[in-house]
């Protein structure tokens, strides 16, 4: 293993020079797609190399976990796929889903139980889990017709999105893969890719740098001077962190989408101007969209269907409120088992419930005309609530209050 650790490590999209290597490697694929052909083998080799360099060097211990994880999920998904061609018992489906979730459950609970990170973990395990579990669910629904181990691994480990999404769905992904985009369509995708790359550079290497590397350390430093007491600096931490989080993640997602486009795959977008949302529900339709839609489709909707079928609730509003709370609390736990992630989920669940109630109440009792002013107020409230919830999410309050300085 030591030779592995001595190799250089290249985090995905970590430095500007990474893009030089990546774009050179992608170029032959682009030329080939332009002439109407996919270079399947070349793509596999390039993907393998880039993934290899994400998980070697100082991250080398994670490589074994990644390999073990991929083997395990492939066996589960393929096993279930073959089973599903013949039978469709609910018990088997739940068992397979649970088994597929098992690694991430262990990884997320280990720090809270044992006090250190699980050896099973690796960068991107969450995103691979979403893809694997999603495939099992789509298989159950009969939406997956065409699957073998190679196609599954190609989807699971799709290089541009491996460590942090966006989260694609197997059915959509495989449809892109079966065909080669027309020259006209591909040029359109390349045009978008170039634009996204440059917006991504602005977000990640300029704005996220300013927020995250220049301002954030400063305001944190100031705020910690007053620890464990609150100060106005904590407010500054909240806003600066929100800027850092957004520009860093949105920049990253733009890179992933752009590189996917160059490789002829239309990976879905992850952000759509989240901070202009007029309520929290709209926010979740604009923020980390592939995650939020995944949760909506596979947790919220599934729960609503199940509960309606079994008549667990008489009142539809109570049903949706419970579903919101479950949805967001699961999301909180998924981020990690710490008080601040769980509280973050709880806050967003509550906000969705209150938002629904307010919209109903407004429709019934108040007759407010929507105009620029009300929209502005709504955006202001939503934005500030979100920033506050990010402060919780950040865990800075944990550092401020509970870590001894």
């Amino acid at each position: 293993m030591s030779w592995l650790e001595s190799l250089p490590n290249y985090t995905a999209y970590g430095t500007p020079s990474y893009f030089i290597y990546l774009l050179i490697a992608v170029l032959p694929m682009g030329i080939s797609l332009y002439f109407g052909k996919r270079l399947a083998w070349y793509e596999a080799i390039v993907s393998f190399l880039f993934i290899f360099f994400m998980f070697d060097g100082s991250s080398a211990p994670q490589m074994l976990s990644l390999i073990g994880y991929v083997v395990y999920q492939t066996i589960l998904v393929m096993g279930y796929f073959h089973y599903r061609q013949k039978k469709n018992a609910a018990g088997v489906f739940y068992l397979m889903t649970l088994l597929s979730l098992l690694p991430i459950i262990i990884v997320k609970f280990t720090p809270a139980m044992v006090g250190h990170n699980s050896l099973l973990g690796f960068l991107g395990i969450s995103y691979l889990t979403f893809r694997a579990v999603g495939t099992i669910i789509e298989t159950r629904d009969g939406a997956v017709k065409d699957l073998n181990w190679w196609k599954f691994i190609r989807f699971l480990l799709f290089m541009p999105t491996i460590t942090s999404g966006p989260i694609d769905r197997y059915r959509r992904f495989s449809k892109d893969y079966r065909k080669v985009p027309s020259r006209e369509k591909y040029l359109e995708m390349v045009g978008k890719a170039v634009k996204y790359l440059f917006i991504g550079f602005l977000y990640k290497f300029v704005l996220a740098y300013l927020f995250g590397q220049v301002w954030l350390p400063f305001v944190k430093h100031q705020a910690l001077m007053y620890a464990p007491h609150l100060s106005w600096w904590v407010v500054a931490v909240a806003y600066v962190y929100a800027g850092d989080l957004y520009f860093d993640f949105a920049g990253y997602s733009l890179f992933a989408v752009a590189i996917s486009y160059l490789m002829g795959v239309e990976t879905p977008m992850n952000f759509n101007k989240p901070f202009v949302s007029k309520n929290i529900k709209e926010f979740w339709n604009r923020w980390h969209m592939t995650l939020s839609f995944w949760f909506r489709d596979y947790i919220f909707m599934r729960f609503v269907f199940l509960a309606s079928k079994k008549h667990w609730f008489k009142n539809r509003n109570v049903l949706s409120s419970v579903a919101y709370m479950i949805n967001m609390l699961v999301m909180g736990f998924w981020h990690g088992v710490t008080w601040y992630y769980i509280l973050y989920g709880f806050l967003h669940g509550s906000a969705l419930v209150i938002n629904d109630w307010w919209l109903r109440y407004k429709r019934k009792h108040l007759h407010i005309k929507t105009n620029a002013f009300t929209k502005g107020v709504a955006m202001f409230i939503t934005f500030n609530f979100v920033v506050f919830s990010f402060l919780i999410f950040y865990g800075f309050l944990n550092t401020l209050w509970f870590v001894k300085h």
């Binding site: 430095t15 100082s58 045009g191 170039v194 400063f218 430093h221 001077m225």
Partner: protein
């Protein structure tokens, strides 16, 4: 549009932009900083100056002004009439170049020094040590990151020697404080493990350093905080023309009295109103459990000392006092404070760093402190009086002899009782 036009409209602007950027950074821009910029930078306390190289290198090379680096932390920002920068401008043949703000403890200073190591060779320097640095966790990662930059890290990495215990220790600290992510951490990890950087690593470091160097030369001089014109220069002529230590002390004490008359601690009025008054009820006993005796900071200080030996810098140290009246209320243990000073002095003296101004006992003298833990007024006058002769007159060559036992966790965690120090001497120094 045909496809070729389409391709050009997609990639044309990118190609043009790349050429422009490359051209911009590759052109040999003149990098000289004006005298005015250097003077401004010397008192700006700016993290940008701290993290970069070109300005301080230019200042240290400057023959006219005789800049001398003053390494310290927040006390450097106490710019009253008797601040070393004002005193030097009025009475001495040197100009302090101030390096430090809140949070610049030994490790940030090491990287700062590394960026001007050739210029510090055989020169003189002042190093102000605050016992408050020596907390159990050492320098806070947030503070470290604020004063640390990639350019400095790469410069340090280029000269780091994996066979040196000092460099391995520094690399380990770097990984710990920056986190294991990123290329700097990757290189530092290698040094920490005692491995040499590969020639490919070096090529990449050189390439990135070159870009950062140009960036530094082009932009570091912009928008510097103008402490010199706002807070230093107007005060120079407020000082009497001829130097008299006793007259200045008298004047400083009376200044202190006037400026600190709204509280019983002798704290500057504005500081008291802004920072103390609101929290008065939380203060009694709040520092009872503080201890500066065990800290990684001792080993961090050791790598700074090693750097000063490498550059053969003749250095005078100052150990800062605390406001005695104030600490009586906070409950800070003064015996602990004196012990901390003793541990620091032991570390300095046993390796040949003998020029030490220890103020740990002086925080009760009239007008000595400007606020709770920062020297001012009569304190500055005395400081100037003690260091100016050292800086102005020719000094004998220093003879430093480093001992890596001061990097050990044994030393970091040693309770410096006389018996323990004697034992440490026997175990590690008498060889």
């Amino acid at each position: 549009m045909n496809n070729r036009r389409k391709l050009w409209s997609i990639f044309g602007p990118v190609i043009v932009a790349c050429l422009l950027v490359l051209g911009f950074f590759a052109l040999p821009w003149s990098s000289s900083h004006s005298q005015a910029t250097l003077q401004k930078a010397a008192d700006s306390l700016s993290p940008r100056v701290f993290k970069n190289s070109s300005i301080k290198v230019a200042a240290m090379q400057d023959k006219k002004k005789n800049y001398i680096p003053f390494f310290g932390s927040s006390e450097l920002n106490r710019m009253d009439r008797y601040h070393p920068a004002v005193m030097a401008a009025r009475y001495h043949n040197y100009t302090p170049f101030l390096f430090g703000s809140r949070g610049t403890q030994s490790l940030p200073q090491l990287f700062n020094m590394t960026m001007m190591a050739p210029e510090m060779k055989n020169g003189k320097a002042v190093y102000i040590i605050s016992p408050q640095w020596f907390v159990k966790e050492g320098v806070m990662p947030s503070a470290f990151k604020y004063y640390n930059g990639t350019y400095a890290n790469l410069t340090w990495l280029k000269q780091a020697n994996p066979d040196s215990p000092y460099d391995r220790y520094t690399a380990k600290r770097l990984v710990k404080l920056l986190g294991a992510e990123g290329s700097v951490a990757n290189y530092a990890k290698k040094i920490a493990d005692g491995k040499h950087l590969s020639s490919w690593d070096r090529t990449r470091i050189d390439m990135e350093s070159t870009l950062l160097k140009h960036e530094d030369e082009l932009f570091s001089g912009w928008f510097l905080k103008d402490n010199y014109n706002d807070r230093i220069k107007p005060r120079i002529n407020e000082l009497p023309k001829t130097y008299s230590y006793s007259a200045l002390t008298k004047e400083a004490i009376s200044d202190a009295k006037h400026s600190s008359n709204n509280n019983r601690f002798g704290i500057l009025n504005q500081f008291y109103d802004r920072r103390v008054k609101g929290h008065l009820k939380d203060i009694p006993g709040s520092q009872k459990h503080y201890s500066y005796l065990k800290s990684p900071e001792y080993a961090d200080l050791e790598v700074v000392l090693n750097q000063l030996k490498k550059t053969n810098t003749n250095v005078v140290f100052m150990i800062t006092p605390v406001n005695a009246k104030w600490e009586k209320m906070t409950g800070l243990s003064m015996p602990m404070y004196y012990q901390t000073a003793n541990k620091i002095k032991y570390q300095l003296r046993s390796q040949g760093f003998n020029n030490i101004v220890d103020y740990s006992h002086d925080g009760g003298k009239p007008g000595f402190m400007e606020d709770t833990i920062h020297i001012g007024w009569a304190g500055w006058v005395n400081f100037d009086h003690r260091i100016a002769p050292f800086l102005e007159q020719k000094q004998p060559q220093p003879h430093y002899h480093m001992n890596k036992a001061f990097l050990s966790s044994e030393w970091q965690n040693l309770n410096p009782t006389t018996a323990n120090l004697n034992q440490f001497t026997k175990d590690h120094l008498d060889k």
